[in-house]
Symmetry: C2
Subunit: 350 residues, 2 copies
């Protein structure tokens, strides 16, 4: 197979971890005879520094005209603590998601057997947990109208959803549930929010086409609790953009480290693969960032193109790295292995 892949390393640890994902893909290409052509482009704080824009035209055009996007991370503290900044790295990622129409963000959560002890949760709580979060990615408060009055004393964000936006991701989530344990949990705040009530109504309706899937509903406050009390109850979780952001980061504690979690963002035509962690600026350039999430996002990319065998080889290689404790310090405080060494181990194993 020939694939043209746009590579957007971004900020912080982005470039370091993405280098390891590329290594893994090169190795797969060699062994299984695929040609992966990578083309790099700027996004985020580094793009602002170099071009003034968080998502330069050139980057967007590249992404629109490749088979897939491999994304690192974005964000920089110099913007976070400046509420007056007009241009911010995150705008680059949000715009990219919107322009590529990446409405479904899929985040699988499953602890590794040999890492059960790394979680702050007790073994009996997490052993056997295995679920996927479907987070809507191009709607809600992230993209609704924003307002700040002239005096800077009043602000608002509008959370908007349409039936269509809910329907398309609901189908994906139900289909996924059909291929899993046939349970879908919709998370919302329907006792307070109008948008949540629309979600509930539309998902109920879509659910009629998937009679084999058991559908239930949880309020988001309760869901935040249930994820920790009893994560095994979940199979597929479906939710809107902001709730999905919060709950998927929270759910990462089940695996012991957010550095292990990858995600796929899918649209009608385009697909982007990224770790769920951020740019972790404190670790930048220190060779301590965990590259596994980025490597796994490459595996999700392969799966997306039907290369299941190849994806599996990466999953196995990552499992081996974890089993042999070739991991970064987030997983083993006294580890002598860095970002590079973990990446090397994985690609050598392929």
């Amino acid at each position: 197979m020939n694939l043209k892949i746009a590579v957007l390393p971004g900020d912080g640890i982005g470039p370091e971890v993405i280098a390891q994902a590329k290594k893994a893909l090169y190795a797969i290409g060699e062994v299984y005879n695929h040609e992966f052509v990578f083309e790099e482009a700027l996004i985020g704080a580094i793009a602002i520094d170099k071009t003034g824009k968080p998502l330069p035209e050139q980057t967007l055009n590249l992404c629109l005209n490749t088979d897939a996007v491999l994304f690192g991370a974005i964000g920089d503290p110099k913007y976070d603590n400046n509420p007056n900044a007009k241009v911010r790295p995150e705008q680059g990622l949000l715009k990219l998601r919107k322009e590529l129409g990446l409405f479904a963000n899929i985040r699988p959560i499953k602890p590794y057997k040999s890492l059960i002890e790394a979680s702050p949760l007790k073994r009996e709580i997490i052993e056997g947990a295995d679920f996927t979060i479907f987070r809507e990615l191009t709607g809600g408060a992230y993209f609704g109208e924003k307002f700040l009055n002239e005096e800077g004393t009043c602000a608002s964000d509008l959370c908007e959803y349409s039936e269509e936006e809910i329907t398309r991701i609901a189908h994906l989530a139900f289909k996924s549930a059909q291929n899993r344990r046939k349970k879908l949990t919709m998370v919302d705040k329907a006792n307070v929010l109008e948008t949540s009530r629309l979600w509930r109504k539309v998902v109920q309706k879509v659910g009629e086409e998937y009679k084999d899937v058991a559908l239930d509903f949880l309020f988001v406050d309760n869901a935040a609790m249930q994820l920790i009390l009893n994560p095994k109850q979940f199979d597929v979780i479906l939710t809107e953009n902001l709730f999905g952001d919060i709950l998927s980061d929270e759910a990462s504690v089940i695996t012991g480290s957010i550095g292990l979690l990858a995600s796929a963002s899918l649209g009608e035509k385009n697909a982007l693969f990224e770790p769920i962690h951020g740019s972790y600026p404190q670790a930048k350039g220190k060779n301590i960032a965990n590259p596994i999430a980025s490597i796994l996002s490459a595996a999700m990319l392969l799966e997306h193109f039907g290369l299941f065998k190849e994806a599996n080889v990466i999953y196995k290689a990552v499992e081996k790295a974890i089993e042999f404790k070739v991991v970064t310090v987030d997983l083993k405080a006294d580890s002598k292995f860095g970002t590079n060494e973990v990446g090397e181990f994985v690609s050598n194993f392929i």
Copy 2:
């Protein structure tokens, strides 16, 4: 002291748990020579059933003219799964919060020594955790304009905040931090939301008056993770309405049961005390609901009126109940004690 207390049992387990809180207050009144006069009123689903309104005028008037409100719980599944219901129990509580101007909801989180094992989190993670969440309670998406188009295919919720709304709760949170470990963590999503940026700016400004308090910021997704990874890092958490709803329910897992957590909702003139748990309809009338959260909300009421010694007696009594395992099934699966027995134990101990 003479106190006139409005009692709003509400729905589900509300009436059962509030009966135990009243018992505790009666006992305190007898021993310490205070007169607590209780007056009951309707709110929530039961108020809709009886009057058509979730917050009848009479209830509101009573609450406006008492020293404090003791609140049970509201909510009923018959409304949750009906996205078309025009009147809902929650509207009663939201309206009450708004009309009484209860802008600050204070939720203390601290595990009991003898209950450390009841938490899904490991002992070393939670032992020593002790923090308080300040949740803004009368603004944000809960109260912003709601919209549903005629066809029912498009909905929105507006999240709005003003400098004034942020300032007043920020002062309370900073003052609380001054009396604690002098650390305030503001939780927001300032990399995406305009309202969050306003929060960040205003809280920074208010912080200048509290130089002895260390102020830091966390994005809400990261905060949802940090609460579980390392809850000991927190002292006072300050956040907006919806984030506070999610994070405080999540944080309840630290204590092993949401049935242990009480909250105070304060305004300029009024004060309301309630468990953070909901109406738990499945448990209604079964004498299995944990009354401790409701009893502790009565203790918070006493503290609010400066009756610290009396409040402490309740805290001690609750600790004893827990130590002697006189607890409900949420804390001890094979417990023979019910709501009533736990309440009796506590009030007898006073």
